[in-house]
Symmetry: C2
Amino acid sequence: MGFNIEQSFRKNLPAPTAAPFVKYPKYNFVGGHIDGGSIPVTELIDAATATLQADGRNLATYGLLSGPQGHRPLREFIANDLKTRAGMTDSADNILLTSGSLQALDLVNTLLLEPGDVVITEEATYGGAIARLRNSGVTCRGVSMDQDGIDMDHLEALLAEQHAAGKPAKYIYSIPTVQNPTGSVMSLERRRQLLAVAEAHDCLIFEDDCYADLLWGEPRPPTIRSLDETRKKTGSNAGRVIYCGSFSKSIAPALRVGYLVADWPVIAQILPLKTDAGSGALEQLVLAKFCEQHFNGHIDELTQSLHGKCETIIAALEEHFGATAEFDPPKGGIFIWITLPPDVDTTKLAAVAQKHEIAINPGADWTVDGPSNRHRMRLCFGHPDPDTIREGVAKLAQLCHQEFGIPKQSGNVAL
Amino acid sequence: MGFNIEQSFRKNLPAPTAAPFVKYPKYNFVGGHIDGGSIPVTELIDAATATLQADGRNLATYGLLSGPQGHRPLREFIANDLKTRAGMTDSADNILLTSGSLQALDLVNTLLLEPGDVVITEEATYGGAIARLRNSGVTCRGVSMDQDGIDMDHLEALLAEQHAAGKPAKYIYSIPTVQNPTGSVMSLERRRQLLAVAEAHDCLIFEDDCYADLLWGEPRPPTIRSLDETRKKTGSNAGRVIYCGSFSKSIAPALRVGYLVADWPVIAQILPLKTDAGSGALEQLVLAKFCEQHFNGHIDELTQSLHGKCETIIAALEEHFGATAEFDPPKGGIFIWITLPPDVDTTKLAAVAQKHEIAINPGADWTVDGPSNRHRMRLCFGHPDPDTIREGVAKLAQLCHQEFGIPKQSGNVAL
């Protein structure tokens, strides 16, 4: 006899959350978390104090005094940083601060896509991007990659197929620098080729550069957006690359501050779609003040620490999985992409591991062609400390051995 | 010959933003801004320092350690506060922290509505709510109000009409306490009647209580959600009222922290629609720490200051508009709803005023039947200081006189 509110819900909703959150698993190899020890707490306190003293009164106004694109000093910091590090020439007016890069993804999708549209993504890519597209009734097509980035012949073929089918791809989604999940970096030559192919097919590129600050061992390459010759030749409002970045990985994920960089016609049309009256201003104020003094030094330290943890997980994988776990060492970032023998099903492994407080990303969730990638998995090493990484990988190898007989040797860890 | 990115945009987008934001007008009588002087800067600095020292490391994890519903201590503060002040019995598990109440509105609309649906709102209501519904292809129907709230006979008639048309209203949207824009408060009796009518027609209620903390001169009434007898009788998951609140008005609008309160089946289905990996955690941390010690005292001071500014704008309206401006004194909040003689067109007045650095909300934007309300306007007095309020109202009266010959006497202010 009770009122059933669920009858009022609209149709075609994603599955509801099963129960309120309790806690993260001990061996947390999923998500974009980083290490608690790498949060620059003292500097953030100093930045909060200084910025609230100077500008705290401005919290009385939506968007502080900077309007809906977000705190101008932070936009100016981003513009300068991207100029210095990544060859970009955009001013603060081409930058929109967002609630993490995820809001940036949602806004770009809302701007461009309708159900039935087609988007080309790297074959293995951010699971959240695939889920967003599919939830909106958009078809993803996966393009092959090697260690230098997208396979251009395959891309050409896909674009031509879509053109022939009367359904040209709406955009090419790429994570060129520290690709998620492969940890690879697209070469400069491929970046130029990608732009040429996109131009030939009159297609947009959405460049997701959320991990680019976390590159180690090699300098950060210029962004695809910065190499867009169309834009240089025909005017600053004629670019074909929409760019997004984030402070989630470089400072802290729980600070929800990301940004879009695009020509003004794009920003102008996205602003009315951003219906939240601006993203959180306190986080923007604190970041602007913090970054002014500490960004470069902080990134250097963080990257060093992540590189060390990457070496830890590689050593643990070699010890406990041996030759059964194949991977290319990531060039930066917080994750490693592992191929196991075809008999292993990581979707099943994840379900078993969960009962032992181990969380992993099954390959099927992180690829366009899920069924062909059930023997792959993504492990994030950003959050757990080195001991937890070692323990977690050892336990995971044992569970994998129990379930699939792989690896044959499950290491020396007692159950 | 340049690439035209606009060809790739989807159809039926809202109008783009004309140009990057420059600055707010001097006489800013629009928006939910409050007074810079009322931002508790010192206490916010203390709260930021204390909370970052204690929990700053947790920023390394999405959602801190509280998961996607947001920082648990803040949810617990809200649950307690709503219990004490407003008769609610919801636990922290029934609360979802959002990026302002605007994200709460968007999430509820995404949960419930499809194009072609019908929603009943108070005849004069928050312009952003009307715009959201219309942008989604939803029809708004306006229900009449008096100083005690919604006219129940009219509501019954509208619900019956929609039922007869085979298109039952999806929900009733109400701002019962310090109604926007009228500043009225729905009486306890009407709240009970509203629930009875909604029950008789098996309709949901969406209670937007963003201004309820800013009531002066009378105690805050119990929320409609707290009076829902269906929920009490048939189980705690069978409520028909979805509730939202915000800290934008009570602490600071640029802190984007609002919240939804609803039964778990609603929260469970909204969580996967909130695709931003949580709202900003630093703002939640700081608010939780601040509110613990200072919320009640701060609200008392803020309300007193707003009441004073309300008296200032009423005096200025009486001085400069005389009997041509009719209004009921608001019972709290930051705005006053003014009826001018039928010859005045406030949409035109707003356009003229803008050139003189005066911003107002025309009645046509704040009502369901815009054309019948072109002689009304909303003035927000939260942001400008008393002198600016007096000057701005005087100038507005002069401009109104110049354009429409109303008021006959335009005050003693020299042009």
